[in-house]
């Protein structure tokens, strides 16, 4: 591969990540509006972000909704994954289609659906409504993650446990789950992030009291009112950097340690 190809790829990658980092100097800026380069630096917007209930409320809501979504999507999606991988049943193709559909239907269409549907159920502007909607969107994410792990699972391990007298649930607890634990962990994490990042449905149905962080960010962009948005953006960027850094560090440590020690 020629050197110039590599250079092009590296330049594109830098252009890809570079622009995002402009939110960091903005968050320390003293300018009340979008002005770059900043006229001066301070920590005021971080103070505002952590003390203003218009920001702390949505952060808390987003965490609660994300956790609720994660639990619900795992409880429904994990059994569905086992059914899809391990059983051939009537209507299986239809079931698979229904499980995958939330990935296909554009969010704005569902936002309209939930807006009217939850309106008649009295669930609009409630946290429960957002959790129920997000759970539907996260189920396919959980199923995709778990089915790809399950397909490669060696069922002889379960047969061995059964041969040794373990009942199905015991086998699951002592054999299946521990082996698949990383996949379960990743599936749950994806479900959480899918909800935490979801903006469109949350914008239309979460209302003021259960506003999520993306909804609050969207609203402050539209009003151009609250510069604390830059602090929120920087913190989200920092969270992604920290998570990727931790993953990278873990891989380095694993590489250096000899196997099975």
């Amino acid at each position: 591969m020629s050197r110039s190809t590599v250079i092009i790829a590296v330049i594109v990658a830098i252009l890809l990540a570079g622009p995002m980092f402009i939110v960091v100097p903005m968050s320390f800026s003293t300018a009340p509006s979008l002005e770059f380069p900043p006229p001066g630096y301070w920590l005021g917007y971080y103070r505002r972000f952590f003390s203003d209930p218009n920001w702390t409320g949505p952060v808390l809501n987003s965490f609660l909704i994300g956790l609720g979504t994660m639990v619900l999507a795992m409880l429904l999606g994990a059994p569905a994954s086992f059914a899809l991988v391990r059983y051939r049943f009537r209507l299986r193709a239809l079931f698979r289609l229904i499980v995958m559909m939330p990935l296909i239907v554009p969010h704005i269409v569902m936002a309209l659906g939930y807006y009217s549907y939850f309106g008649s159920l009295g669930l609009v502007q409630s946290m429960t409504g957002v959790i129920l909607a997000h759970a539907c969107l996260s189920i396919p994410v959980v199923v995709l993650t778990l089915t790809s792990a399950l397909v490669n699972f060696d069922r002889r391990l379960e047969n061995a446990a059964a041969n040794l007298g373990a009942r199905p649930l015991t086998t699951f607890r002592l054999v299946t789950f521990p082996i698949l634990r990383p996949a379960f962990f990743v599936a749950a994490l994806f479900a959480f992030i899918h909800s935490f990042d979801e903006a469109v449905i949350a914008i239309f149905i979460s209302g003021r009291d259960s506003a999520t962080l993306p909804r609050q960010m969207f609203n402050s962009f539209q009003m151009e009112a609250d510069p604390a948005i830059s602090a929120a953006s920087s913190l989200l960027l920092a969270a992604v950097l920290a998570a990727l850094g931790a993953q990278f560090a873990a891989r380095l440590v694993r590489k250096q340690r000899p196997a099975h020690s």
Partner: protein
């Protein structure tokens, strides 16, 4: 009767009876898929069905909303603009994503990890954060306008709140999706083919065009379909930094819901968007199988 047969077989030869039914229902597959089916029926299919129903019943029963959509020059323009934007975004992101995925897949090592790390960083960072970054960069008091003024462009062009800004930002945001789709296919292409081409005397460019590129096409189609469909339904970025006059279809639906309170019209527009997305998925599914898209 065929139905009877299958039911009694699933109850392991037991007679067609209430007991047989019950034992079929508490068996593993049903117990495993029933909760998710029920949940999705009540909280996903029902609201989606409501949109379909509203499109033919609000405010009066009939296909008036669709007739109005297809008779409205404004709405047809929105539809055409949406497809055009999605096409430009798909091609642009493909052009930028291809070299990154190519080098990451073939080179590996520190360069490969660096490239994949950057792609992951951008992939996992919220659309809102990245949209905000573009608001600052393209803003009236941002660095680009500042640079243009310093270069003597006066008055500087308006960049923010234009179709250009939205298109550019969406392409930038969807490059990581495209890279991951390309990379998934490219890393399975065996190096042996390229070495064989070289040893048979093909120059690097010729080897790439005749050997590598055709093998990477499934990834290109994967990524293009995924990006195109995502772009068709994009709401946040065009609404925040796109032109308020030149809406895309998702923004139009949002406007019909929030400002105009025309739920019937919003539902009909939604069905047009949904039909476009589903049609693309069906074509894709026929050709490749739908699960491959997210792997």
């Amino acid at each position: 009767m065929a139905l009877d047969l299958t039911l009694s077989r699933s109850a392991q030869g037991r007679a067609w009876s209430a007991a047989g039914w019950a034992s079929a229902l508490i068996r593993p597959p049903f117990l495993l898929y029933a909760p998710a089916s029920l949940f999705l029926a009540v909280f996903f299919l029902a609201p989606l069905g409501l949109v379909i129903w509203m499109s033919v019943s609000e405010p009066t029963v009939g296909f008036d909303n669709y007739a109005e959509f297809f008779a409205s020059k404004y709405d047809l323009n929105v539809l055409a603009r949406t497809f055009q934007t999605a096409l430009i975004v798909t091609i642009t992101s493909l052009v930028f994503a291809y070299p990154v995925a190519y080098v990451a897949a073939r080179k590996g090592g520190a360069v490969g990890s660096f490239l994949l790390g950057i792609v992951a960083l951008s992939f996992w960072t919220s659309f809102l954060v990245r949209t905000y970054a573009w608001m600052v960069i393209l803003g009236a008091r941002g660095p680009v306008v500042g640079l243009l003024v310093a270069l003597g462009v006066n008055p500087p062009p308006r960049l923010l709140f234009t179709t250009f800004a939205a298109t550019f930002a969406m392409a930038h945001m969807l490059v990581p999706f495209m890279v991951l789709a390309l990379y998934a296919v490219m890393k399975r292409i065996d190096e042996v083919y390229m070495r064989a081409a070289a040893s048979l005397g093909a120059r690097p460019l010729k080897a790439f065009l005749t050997v590598y590129l055709p093998q990477s096409l499934p990834g290109v189609l994967n990524g293009a379909t995924l990006v195109f469909i995502t772009c068709l339904g994009f709401y946040v970025t065009p609404t925040l930094i796109g032109s308020p006059q030149d809406k895309m279809i998702a923004g139009r639906i949002g406007q019909q819901i929030e400002q105009l309170l025309e739920f019937g019209a919003a539902s009909a527009t939604s069905m047009v968007l949904l039909a476009a997305a589903v049609a693309l998925f069906v074509i894709y599914d026929r050709l490749f199988g739908i699960e491959k898209m997210w792997r």
